[in-house]
């Protein structure tokens, strides 16, 4: 399973390096969303206060594009069918695609966080660094796992472009809430303290475990006929 996961992840990341969809399309899209938020909230104090939530909202919107892209490369020339036909371990496919998606999300989130600090004057404090890193790792894993699972579910369905947001966004609500609260605690937004954030990291960890195990088991039957 791990050998297949490594193979799929390497293939997906190589395709991304060649096509540069993340760098040329998803990153600019996410940056534009951040700028639009700044226009919409027009007051510095408000933007500063909601900056963590805006970072994660922009991440979720970009996640939809990344997931669509991740499965578009599989379905374009029937590769999903070929993978099933070749008896490639579906659990390995699931983990491999989730790893590649997590790597792309990580780059995206770094850019978004940097944009929030520059654009929204969000404060960054060293005491919250461990919490901030842990939150980003846990939330990224959670989003990548659930994105891959639902991407696989929607990939073979007609109208998948509109179906995916409908399925995915309600499911990732716990990640949005948990990651936003933990990031607020890490950055000290609105007087929050670092200790407040760890319980939210706990929620994110449970989410990761749930979708990690569930996705690994369910992905095979999901992509079967």
């Amino acid at each position: 399973m791990l050998r297949v996961a490594r193979l799929i992840a390497a293939k997906d990341l190589r395709i991304e390096l060649r096509s540069r969809v993340v760098t040329n399309q998803v990153l600019p899209f996410a940056a534009i969303v951040m700028v639009m938020f700044a226009f919409a909230f027009n007051t510095d104090s408000v933007v500063q206060k909601v900056a963590p939530g805006l970072v994660w909202l922009a991440t979720l919107f970009s996640l939809l594009t990344l997931v669509q892209r991740s499965f578009a490369v599989e379905t374009a020339d029937g590769a999903t069918d070929a993978l099933r036909g070749a008896g490639v371990d579906p659990a390995g496919i699931f983990l491999g695609k989730a790893i590649a998606l997590a790597a792309q999300l990580a780059v995206l989130e770094l850019v978004l966080l940097f944009t929030a600090v520059v654009l929204y004057s969000a404060e960054f404090r060293l005491s919250g660094l461990v919490l901030l890193v842990t939150t980003f790792v846990a939330a990224t894993c959670g989003l990548a796992l659930v994105g891959t699972l639902y991407g696989g579910l929607a990939a073979g369905v007609r109208g998948r472009e509109t179906l995916l947001p409908l399925l995915l966004l309600p499911v990732v609500a716990p990640v949005l809430i948990g990651a936003t609260r933990a990031t607020e605690a890490a950055l000290g937004t609105g007087g929050a303290v670092v200790a407040d954030g760890w319980s939210w990291v706990g929620l994110l960890t449970v989410f990761v475990a749930l979708f990690g195990v569930g996705g690994t088991l369910a992905f095979g039957p999901l992509i079967e006929e």
């Binding site: 293939k11 060649r18 069918d81 099933r84 070749a86 008896g87 006929e225």
Partner: protein, 215 residues
Amino acid sequence: METVVHLSNAVAVLGRFPVLAGVDLEVAKGEIVLLQGPNGAGKTSLLRLCAGLLPLVRGEAIVLGCDLMTDRDGVRKRVGLLGHANGLYADLTVTENVRFWGSTVGASVAEVDAAMQRMGLAKRLAKVPVNRLSAGQRRRTALACLVARRAELWLLDEPHAGLDANGRDELDTTLREATNAGATIIVASHELERAGALATRLVEVVGGQTRERSL
């Protein structure tokens, strides 16, 4: 002669619709069997059943020694199905595609190189991205992937579709070489003249059932 495919009264359904209604088929190692019949007759379903992609509902089906009722995964690893799509990644080069599919069965670099050599892809086309290839070159790349995957039974659905005269000739040569190297091939095609010249046997598929015909 070693039997590669043995189907006896095999029944398969797609959703609630019966697509194969008691199929009988025997294919020996090294044969090229042509499946012919009208659209919707069950040719593609028969190929997908042999590939382990369509579940067997009733009857007996043994492919490469694996019982399709109990061991579909065992069949999948040893069979190569090439349908209307090629299963290639457009942004990757020919070599990267063949290497990827070879790696799914743990093929060595030498095996991948040999597969590309056999399909005439080793030199000029090796580093070309698949999205810049012609339809015939894509087909050859897909076949190289089957070789690299060590597929023992090739199941080809309309393999000549979309190819020009040169591409068709190249494909026929490739298929003959593959059988000489030990592969067994089942081809579903509407083109009796072209595929008939290639085949060793003709099987007609009508209404989800098979009938042996003379070439």
